[in-house]
Amino acid sequence: MRYIEPHGHMVSRVTDDYIDMVTAGCQAVCEPAFWAGFDRSSADGFFDYFRQLTEHEPKRAAKFGLPHFTWLCINPKESEDVKLAEDVLSIIPKFLDKPNVLGIGEIGLNKNSRNEMKVLEMHVEMAAKYNQLILVHTPHLEDKLKGTRLIIDVLKSDSRIRPERCIIDHVEEHTVELVLNAGFWAGMTLYPESKCTAARAVDMIECFGRQRIWMNSACDWGVSVPLAVPYAALEMRKRGHSAEAIDNLVYGNPVKFLSQSPKFKI
């Protein structure tokens, strides 16, 4: 089996995870910028993080023959501080030409506040200005429905943003149709305790089809499973999905979306 891990926070994972992923058939990993679990104190902290994502982590992955790609932003969890966000956004263009940078992400909302909306709009402006792909984080739990609606409104209100170049991640049963019906790609994040289990992800595939959908582990420093995508492929197999259908979902779809960036070559 071959698959792409389109959303993994590998800076928080151990080297053994790389070994397991490659052994399971991972062909490439994509790492959006995210929250470190604590607030960084200045834009300098982000400068170092972006160097880690564009210089160090690709080398760590390359030791196992795994291509590593990344997305840059200030995560919505740190977007309440608009001045900090402005400072971080000012350094992102310096990194956009790095060979493994695919776009702006994971941007979005966390608690659906006014400042988070401002920072989301600033990121969308940057993506439009530099013609970048967009990867969007949707809020957690009770905030997801409202946040997903607000995010779709922001993206739809900018005529420069093409929905087929945006993926809206962490969809669940109450948001997946909103995202797909608006023309965006949808990401299903496979978590043991929140977001979406493998069984529910396959339910959504069976109800809404395989078009413009990918699955990811979003493995990070929290409770998460780096092999969640191959486990979901096993779930599909148990239900009788064909090898071709599984390959289309876990490999073909991510390749199709990500190849909209000329830098994505595997």
């Binding site: 909306m117 009770e142 905030d143 429905l145």
Partner: protein, 88 residues
């Protein structure tokens, strides 16, 4: 899959989760003190499962969601708790 195949594949797992739900509610009701909006939201969501309508997972998620549409003035926390605090 046929309904028999779905039962063969998922019944035991769903059965275990169902008993866990009962045990959780028992644990809550044995404990001292008051519960809060989360338990109210939980019971509302649980009621969705007894209705004959389709899309039960979606309706459970909707019942636990913030239904408002305007951004909040300021984020005072980063965390979500799993239920909307103004649940009726």
């Amino acid at each position: 899959m046929t309904r028999q195949q779905v039962l063969d594949l998922y019944f035991m797992e769903a059965r275990a989760k169902l008993i866990d739900l009962g045990a959780f509610i028992d644990r809550m009701e044995r404990a001292a003190g008051e519960d809060d909006f989360r338990m109210k939201a939980f019971r509302n969501a649980l009621a969705e499962l007894s209705k004959g309508d389709p899309a039960k997972a979606k309706r459970v998620l909707l019942s636990l969601s913030d239904p408002t549409t305007e951004p909040i003035p300021v984020a005072t926390t980063k965390a979500a708790c799993g239920a909307w605090p103004e649940t009726k």
